[in-house]
């Protein structure tokens, strides 16, 4: 299959949320290059190219990770922490997209190096706007370094 570069990794366990999120992204023509990980473990395997995603390469990291916090097996904070702790993955922008607005989660998330923290609005209209804005910002407006040069930089620093 033609491996088109995955632009968004959506880490979300709730199928309703997955559907609504995809629906919102689809409307903005952003849903084509999405991979959905249904728990923290899978998300890590995807990002670190092992387990069921062993065929993946660090050369092609996602351009954005939308991360829920309450996840089965490995929770969102741990995923974030592992991601940001590893030089090969720490440059990947991560946006926490969650139901709660707990202060301690905000503090902890930013402490671990999250790029953005967004509470999912209950109102679907608002939710859709939010998703749209996030997608536009991180995938269109925001500038990221080239993946190859990033990988090279990583490999040289790890050597």
């Amino acid at each position: 299959m033609t491996q088109r570069q995955i632009e968004i990794l959506l880490v979300e366990d709730n199928p309703d949320d997955v559907e609504l999120t995809l629906h919102a992204l689809r409307k903005e023509k952003l849903a084509n290059s999405i991979h959905v990980a249904r728990d923290g473990e899978e998300a890590l395997e995807f990002l670190f190219c092992n387990g069921i995603h062993a065929d993946r390469s660090f050369e092609e990291p996602p351009r954005l990770v939308l991360l829920d916090l309450k996840l089965p097996k490995v929770d969102g904070m741990e995923v974030l922490q592992r991601l940001k702790a590893d030089p090969r993955t720490k440059a990947i922008p991560v946006v926490i997209l969650t139901s709660s607005k707990e202060e301690r989660d905000l503090v902890k998330g930013y402490g671990l190096g999250v790029n953005s923290y967004i509470q999912k609005p209950v109102d679907f209209e608002q939710f859709r706007d939010t998703i749209k804005n996030v997608g536009l910002y991180w995938l269109v407006i925001n500038q990221l370094p080239l993946v190859n040069s990033l990988a090279q930089a990583v490999s040289t620093t790890t050597k």
Binding site: D17, L20, K70, T98, S100, E102, K120, P121, V122, F127
Partner: protein, 818 residues
Amino acid sequence: MNGSPLFLTDLVTNVCDPRILRRLNQFVSCCCALAILFGLWVLTGWMFHLTWMKSIVPGQVAVKANAATCFIFLGLALWILRKEDSPIAPAWRLAAKAAAFIAGVVGLLSLLEYAAGLDLGIDQLLFTPGPKDIPGSVRPGLMSPLAAFGFFGLGSTLLLLDVKSKLARWPAQLLPCVVAIAAMFGIMDFVLDPITTHTYISPVTASILFLFSFGLMFARADWGLGALVAGVTQGGTLTRRLLPAAILVPLVIGWLRWNGQNIGLYSNWTGVSLMTVISILLLSGLTALSGFTLARNERERQRGQETVDRLAAMVECSDVAIIGKTTDGVVTSWNPAAEAIYGYSAREIVGKSISTVIPANRREEFDTILEKIRRGQRISHYETTRVRKDGQAVSVSLSVSPVKDKAGNLVGVSTIARDITERKRAEEELQLSRERLALAQKAAHSGTFDWDIQNNVNHWSPEVEEVHGIAPGKFGGTYEDWEALVVPEDLVVAKKGIEESLKTGEFAGEWRIRRRNDGEIRWITARAKVVFDDNGKPQRMLGLNMDVTARKRAEEEVRRLNRELEQRVIQRTAQLEAANKELEAFTYSVSHDLRAPLRHISGFSKLLTEEYGSALAPEAKHHLQRIQEGTRRMGLLVDDLLNLGRIGRHELRLQITGLNSVVDETLFDLKEDCEGRQVEWKIGTLPFVECDPALMKQVFQNLLSNAVKFTHPRSQAVIEVGQKDEDGSAVVFVRDNGVGFNMKYADKLFGVFQRLHRPEDFEGTGVGLATVQRIIQKHGGRIWAEAELGKGATFFFTLGTSEKTELKTNAATAGDKA
């Protein structure tokens, strides 16, 4: 005795010199013995017809047998009666009187014979004398008239001797005088002319009569001449000195003149002249001598009087009462101090018994005192009670002594009395305060100790002993005795404290002791001071020991309770923390899990509307609209509740905040809500307060948005924010002219989910005011509301730090002016 002539009184009351009295007694006894022996001698002569025995002096008149008998009777009578105060059996007294009577009668009868020229035969009663037996006699056997008079006089005197009446006393005194004078003629007869007799009396008889007269006069020393001679008065002294001279000198002069003339040494004229001149010389000399003696004695007496006056003045001025009494307790002198103490004046009490001032219950004591005094004892500082004239009791200290004359006779009693009422009261008060102290010490389980450090004697008050379980007085009193009582673990510290105090002078310590009797452990607290001598050497330690066991136990109990309480607090805190954690976890879950389904409902219903709206009936679309609305409201509710829960757990971040800036921020947020409406904002000057600004913003957000909301029906809304002063603390208020509410629901206002309006009229979750109240309470303040239906509502709140609020307001005002 009252009413007696003064001189008589003087003659009667007599103070005698015991030495002279003894001499006089000896003289009287000698007279008796002489009379008896002489009588016996003469009678013996008569019995054996020995002329030399009858007349004694050769060639002189013989002494008659009845005269000799009279002498024996008189001698015996006086011998028996010679001592007035010695007890004599009445029979003896009678016998003596009978003897005196016989002698007197014989004398009287002989006189009668002379007077009437009768021969009563009295002269021949014993012996029939022959003519040669009685040379120079008037009649053989008949005594001379002088002798007869003598015996009659002396016999009468003896009969009258102890009759104590005026009528008897004068004759008893005068008769011997007359007899003596008569006897003197007999003596003169012999002295001047020993060859021929003129008086027919034997010179020996005359001499013995003479002596016996004086013997009788001196037999009683309580009155008359005897009293005078025996007395210690000047008169007595003079009499003793002059009487012998008065008797002997004329006798000698007369003898010299007579004999000198007889032998032709000088003529009759010369004799008379010589006798006269010598008599003048001697009498003048004796008078002058008496005068000198009297004058000297007078001077001495005056000097004595001065001393007496001085003493009297001292008595008068003395502070102590000086009272003279007779031996029966009759007051004889009374000084002003006595008057001051007893209230009676001297005039009132002299002559009355001292028992006037003695309380009825102490009369026996008075008798005892008098008895002691009569025995010659003294009483010193005897403390007793007396009664004043006004009936008040007075405490006195008495010193009572006997008053004696020179002869050592008890003549009176002197009492010195001091008023000791004040002292007694002071003593009683002292005693009372001692008792009180003892009682207080007993009640406080405390007592005193006094440790003589140098001699190692520790004196404990009974309370201290009691605390240590020791019977009174059984402590022992040494440092080692104390050491033995202290619990060994505490002893080291206690001793160290004592050693320290011997340098510093102050001691305070606490230790446990084991009671000597029951072994119970008690806590002792001690405070003491050390007394140093001039060299800084510790002498004594004086202080207080107190049993503080009860306090110690209470303290221990308090500590135990505190420990328990602490333990319980820790447990509760842990429980509370656990509960909080649980709550937090719950809230966390709620925020996550409760919102997710809402979102899904909202999302899918929206999608349904959007994607299949055209296919749906208008009613179905309305239902979908209701679902949308419901989920939105539910979302708000969940958010508000979560917020309320968060405030409960939230820790205040206090900082000085100007409330005006908080209000301004809030107003900015509210702009949107007010669009298209006429709202008049009246924002007053608000204080600077110490608060959590984020929470304070929530307060104003809620109150102001409420005000905006509830003034919606008004064409012109007026919303006022300001502060007022209430009881010295700042109260912030938010007032609107909105729909208000009925005050009877005011208590429901701040309850969670409590709403006073229908949702279609005014939207709301019913959580806002509950949140406000919680924030205010968290700041230690208070919130309340006043409203009237249809007229508007006012919300008031204070913050706990009211005083600071006040200060800050002033500071802010001052700053603004500057």
